[in-house]
Symmetry: D3
Subunit: 186 residues, 6 copies
């Protein structure tokens, strides 16, 4: 499996790009050095698990889908919404296919199936992961607002109206009302 | 569950700290603005899944354990190795217990069990997650070396000698030999 | 012209994004916080003038074309080369048309004509601006190399083989041989 | 011209410093990592062209003057206003003379004439470039205000009262009234 | 003394870590890239001198104690308050003993005595240095508030109620009322 | 003393600028985000004490002089060496006089005397502080070299040939030979 090991190591280096690629939407509201895709991904996966367990779904699976949901951005970067009218959206499954072609079979199938399930968006776990993606953005918008950024309202609103689970909606509702420092006061 | 929703949102904000807390060891070798704990965590979880599926273990579970393995650092920061002689290591289970006490029951149990399984370190998935933690550090050390940092050797060595799975060892071996840009050349 | 003034101010704010959008290719070689599109654009415009005046072309016009050559990236970000297989390249003229539609007529025509001339790439000034775009990247690659980044060779090579003016080629040849600090030694 | 090529490459490296030198005034209001001189220069040149075309002046020439207006700061840095009582202001023409002495004749004359025309400040293009310098600072002040910085008022006021073209004044007036995100709403 | 010189140089490199270690509390309120321990230390030492001279104490001694008050954080990092319940506070004297063991005798004694006097906290100079530590945090909290950070109130309050000198109290009182830019207006 | 308290608080805010002003020379060698003046100042003061105690001078006084040696840079920024031919060097005593004019008498005299003694440069403590300024730069140059920066040689050389105490020279000699991580290996 030495070729397989090289494939895995090379894929590990490729995933490292997510630690450097910035989430581009925040540049629009004036954040100079916004969060990386990796930072967004970690909390999305954690939130996916929390939402899923409350919804009676499989939390490890929901977290797992979230873990790969933006992994194609090593090749395209994080495309802002304003790019939509000017390009066809890249197909995540196709990028994933290319990214994983040097992997051993089990690894390759595992990643491809996760991306496929997330993009298809039918399973309850996929829906929890998608809600987590929105809730994560909502929390970050509130954190930037509390760091001084004035025009995060559009991000908060778009996150709130796009949620499909009861838990996702309730967490979003709570997030806009409590202090981001509430956990310290307890 | 509105109290539960507040607990979940508050925990979400607490986890946000991992996007800002820096991995302290890299300051020692001269990296001014090193990766965040969240960035390390995302790739650790991805690597845990890859290692686990190759080892015949449950990849979603291994990734899930990795996802929470440093989540206590919201409260303590990332303690460098040089701190070891001067303090008792904080008990991760105790911090997790405090972090999750405002969560709804299912969420609380889920996080606590994941931290407990990782810390106990007996299950094959826990061992894959622990290897992923080391391999992630190894990849990052190589990435910093390629960005100019001279004294990453100690980090590379310590990662390599602490691996417990065959896949972890092989990926580490491959990583020190290939180019971090090998994925672009294909 | 108060509507025109609002259009100009709004366009000014949109161009401000170029001060925050990062040049994405450098993330691939491990630069965490690379130059902005605006930083690249300024030196490209300066180099375009220098190349043009040596080539007997109109330096102000060449600089002017360079000034708008990446201005569409406010809407798309800086797409890395690795994205090419997965999307149709956005049409710069179409984005420019949208960006300038709220401008007074003379401003609108001015920007559109500059983008059109650059993209058509036939005039000598457009060719000088395009060479400047490459030489700027070459200088930056050397500057990153001297700051420790190991794998800039691919960027240096691609810049050098894509030059169309005699001056561009000679400057590139000189750049790889002198010290970036040569100006201080004089 | 191989000596000329070295001179041009060396000058290109010197201009690269403008990508790193920070605009020092923003440190006073608490911005830790403010814009570079290059970032300011790019938008100043773009605004100079827009103001000039509306004023019936030569837009490429106005942009060209703006492109070199702070290029002397490679040697002095960006001197804050608070330094004024303690030093004689360095002579931009003298610095430019030194910076360009290794350039081929046409390049040397081109840069020196641009700096001279800007500093003399008599031509309509020079006045458009100078207004663009102020309007750029005004837009940046508003962008920092919207990112949370409280005390940008002095910068906004000083920019507004120092404008000499009708277009400059109208754009400034519009800028303080519209949202920096107005271009996205269209 | 060549061994002594190596000890001094090595200690100098260790102290360099304080230029990279971030003050962790600010991460809690959302500051992504907060001040370093070194930055905090410089102003603490300056304030200690100012407070001491007004209190009739020895200003050079008070500044000197402040200069070493966080120097142990090279080994532990800056532990946030939220870590308190989970660990025994490291003993600064013990860390200092280890840090200084390779130093020539006079240097060793000098640093150890300074840390001991500060930690004992009985001398008037130690009390001035401790007040300076709080006032410095207060000034920084106000500076972050003016840069947009919303939730600095807890830091301001905790600083104000923990002051032991009359001068410390009066400076704190003044700081919350004046503008951080008052020095420019004069 | 309420006016005095306002003066002290305002001076404290002014000194805060040193936490943001960057040391400009490092931009020349390609460091994008170099150390602040405050970071340099802290280690200079610590080194001044160490050098002084070995030289038989008063360590607290030497550290105290170092603490104010660049405090005038709140008003001028850090002027790079390349600026020297183009301006008269600002008079530190005159800036200090202005900075301290709103302070209570004892504070005012204290700061002015420290700056005067340092600038006069006759006392043994002033000479130790001046050597510390050079040794600090030397250590930082080595730290940047180990972080990948290629062209720090000129900085190392200029520091080494400008030292006036035996201890300063020996520490500099040792610094270029040992590893910056030697303190961790013990």
């Amino acid at each position: 499996m030495s070729e397989g090991a090289e494939g895995l190591a090379g894929f590990g280096f490729e995933l490292g790009l997510l630690k450097r690629v910035r989430r581009s939407g925040w540049w629009h509201v004036g954040v100079k050095d916004p969060e990386s895709v990796a930072e967004h991904t970690m909390r999305t996966a954690q939130l996916a698990a929390l939402i899923a367990v409350e919804e009676g779904a499989d939390p490890a699976r929901a977290a797992f889908l979230a873990l790969w949901h933006d992994s194609q951005e090593t090749r395209t970067g994080d495309l802002p919404h304003t790019a939509t009218p000017y390009m066809t959206k890249p197909d995540p499954r196709r990028i994933t296919a290319d990214q994983t072609q040097g992997l051993p079979g089990r690894s390759r199938d595992m990643v491809r199936e996760a991306v496929d399930e997330y993009e298809t968006g039918v399973s309850i776990e996929a829906r929890c992961a998608k809600d987590a993606d929105k809730v994560e953005m909502l929390l970050q918008a509130i954190e930037y607002r509390d760091a001084g950024v004035a025009r995060t309202g559009g991000w908060v609103d778009s996150a709130r109206k796009d949620l499909h689970t009861e838990t996702g909606r309730r967490v979003a509702e709570a997030a806009v009302q409590i202090s981001p420092l509430s956990w310290r006061d307890r």
